[in-house]
């Protein structure tokens, strides 16, 4: 704790203070620093405990079979249970989500930053996007169910799940992409215009390439949020303990967090271990994706500087 106390004490330089009142003020300051340290330690401790207990519960169930076997609901066959259908369901849904959300999100951001006139309508769009980012994810599930599954008659299929997820993460992608586009220096655009390029030519060949790392990073982070979302998929029709992988866009599907939820909600301890193993797989996928985002950010930012 002394390392934490040091800067506080150094800033106070209590040379003149000799009376008791002065000392009491500094003592209060030290207590406050201790409180801050406790808050930080509590946060740190909860993260470590969370990861540690999950890893301890699940590691014995980690194996190659976990990835290639189908799940089971029967306690007798729990040793052969796997995540195959859930894993492939997630790959299908998130892959499609990326294909839909990345171009649409980028285009919306380009519109808001480069094309949109500074009027009420554009402002309304911005406020609306900020508000959408705060809508609970389960409400998006209801939207997906009501609009895509029922009105568009897509049923409880992979494409319904992907469209729902795409709508869910669009605000995040748009906000991140706008940030990236805004950080492209205006001189780059002016150089393009100076050569007689049209607005789209400037956007396509100057603005987007420079903003791409930021847009990609934002998209990957948004997708990793989507991977962990279970509530909207449960509402929009993902099914746990499915015995087949998705066959196509119209296929019934499962997803990693949905399968994990199913196992958690069973009373037997074996299923809880399976759930913990599933969580480890899920977290590993997230770590890989986040590392990819960090690598992209660092590689491109160093390139731009050099």
């Amino acid at each position: 704790m002394s390392a934490i106390t040091a800067p506080g004490a150094a800033g106070q330089a209590p040379d003149i203070s000799t009376n008791a009142q002065q000392r009491a003020r500094f003592r209060r300051g030290n207590i406050f620093v201790a409180l801050l340290g406790i808050a930080a330690l509590l946060t740190f401790a909860s993260l470590v405990t969370l990861l540690w207990t999950t890893a301890a519960d699940g590691y014995s169930r980690l194996s190659w079979d976990l990835l290639t076997n189908m799940p089971t609901a029967s306690a007798r066959r729990v040793n052969d249970a796997g995540l195959s259908s859930a894993l492939w369901g997630t790959i299908w849904v998130i892959g499609l989500t990326a294909i839909i959300a990345f171009p649409v999100g980028t285009c919306a951001a380009v519109y808001l930053e480069e094309y949109g006139p500074k009027n009420r309508f554009t402002r309304l769009m911005q406020i609306n996007i900020a508000n959408l980012a705060g809508v609970p994810s389960i409400v998006y599930g209801l939207l997906g169910l009501g609009i895509f599954a029922e009105i568009f008659a897509l049923g409880r299929s992979v494409i319904t799940g992907a469209l729902t997820m795409a709508i869910l993460i669009l605000p995040i992608i748009i906000i991140a992409s706008r940030e990236a586009i805004r950080s492209v220096p205006p001189s780059l655009r002016e150089a393009g215009y100076g050569l007689g390029a049209t607005k789209w030519q400037v956007t396509w060949s100057h603005v987007l390439p420079s903003a791409l790392p930021g847009i990609l990073t934002g998209t990957i982070l948004a997708l990793s949020r989507a991977i962990g979302e279970s509530a909207p998929l449960i509402v929009a029709g993902a099914v746990p303990t499915l015995l087949f992988r998705p066959q196509g866009l119209e296929s019934t599907y499962s997803a990693l967090p949905v399968q994990i939820y199913d196992w958690i909600s069973r009373p037997q301890k074996e299923f809880h271990e399976l759930a913990a193993a599933g969580i480890i797989v899920l977290l590993l996928v997230l770590i890989v994706m986040n590392s990819a985002a960090i690598i992209i950010r660092q590689r491109f930012s160093s390139k731009l500087k050099g």
Partner: protein
């Protein structure tokens, strides 16, 4: 398009100098008509992508109201808002949403009691006190915590918080209880409160702090009496957003706080929330057109309206009460 192609489009061939008048240059430099058309089309396409977000909002509002209106055609609106019996999935269903609201509020309030003090203290620590080395550790921890899926917090609440902490401390606590769900929700929200509050604290200009030091204030006095009050609008806005997040939180609550919907504010008992009911119903088999299906949208509408109002309040706080420095 390369520069050469651009030159050709503008009528400037290499070696030949066909430029005659300024007017001609101007005409050559402005794009050809087909280019103009495609520019227009691209512009409209981008606009369409932008307006998609508006259609999303319209879609949400439409679908929620559409089904909720059908629900209220069969069930009394007053009974829905004032009833405390929620037996939607039983034989003779009753739809008193206060049963779900009590669960939701208990968990949200308790979660705030965890997230607000810890989140704010972490924010103060990060922005005012932490030396760079500690900051370099604590920041990524916050980001990691923010990136963990909520179902993982649910598992944590059910298999660790409940048996190892809550049931050890409190005799009457059940296998499913609102307390451990609320603690997990609170931990999940700490990064949100911390990062938004830290942004607000960082926006307070240095001169204010130096002024306080110049008057002889200690570091704590400066922080608590000058910096925090100056950043109060951003900090309070982060609290409101956090409450909104707690209301909408689903998987932690579904996993850890049980599935009994009743009017009950005891954190040690189980209790279902609005989101919890939705997941429970959809995990079974609900058919379209039934009253249960419609009730899901009525509950969803209530949840949407609550979080929507909270988000608006948060925005208003930021915009109206922000101290603008510079």
């Amino acid at each position: 398009m390369t520069n050469q192609a651009l030159g050709r489009a503008a009528g400037i061939e290499r070696g030949v100098v066909p430029i005659k008048t300024e007017q001609e240059i101007a005409r050559a430099l402005t794009s050809t008509s087909s280019q103009k058309v495609s520019e227009k089309i691209i512009g409209y396409f981008l606009l369409a992508c932008g307006t998609l977000s508006i259609f999303t909002t319209i879609g949400i509002v439409f679908i929620l109201f559409n089904e909720a209106i059908k629900f209220f055609a069969d069930e009394s609106f007053i009974d829905f808002l004032t009833g405390t019996e929620w037996t939607a999935l039983f034989g003779s269903p009753q739809f008193g949403v206060l049963a779900l609201v009590s669960g939701t509020f208990t968990i949200a309030i308790l979660a705030m009691l965890v997230a607000i003090p810890i989140g704010l203290l972490c924010a103060i620590f990060l922005s005012e006190y932490a030396p760079p080395g500690v900051r370099a550790i604590l920041k990524p921890i916050m980001e990691l915590l923010a990136g963990i899926p909520t179902i993982v917090f649910g598992y944590f609440a059910l298999t660790f918080l409940t048996p190892s902490i809550i049931r050890k401390l409190f005799d009457g606590a059940g296998v499913f209880n609102k307390f451990s769900a609320a603690i997990a929700v609170g931990i999940m929200i700490i990064p949100l409160v911390a990062s938004l509050s830290e942004d607000a604290l960082n926006a307070v200009p240095r001169a204010l702090r130096e002024g306080a030091y110049g008057l002889g204030a200690t570091k704590m006095e400066t922080t608590l009496k000058v910096v925090v009050p100056s950043a109060l609008s951003g900090i309070v806005a982060s609290f409101v957003l956090a409450i909104s997040r707690a209301f909408g939180e689903t998987m932690i609550v579904v996993v850890a706080s049980g599935s009994k919907a009743w009017w009950n504010w005891d954190p040690l008992q189980q209790g279902q929330t609005m989101t919890g009911y939705m997941v429970q119903a959809f995990s079974g088999d609900v058919t379209r057109g039934g009253v249960v299906y419609e009730s899901l949208f009525a509950v969803g509408l209530l949840l949407f309206l609550i979080t929507f109002v909270l988000n608006i309040i948060s925005n208003l706080i930021v915009n109206k009460f922000r101290e603008a420095y510079e």
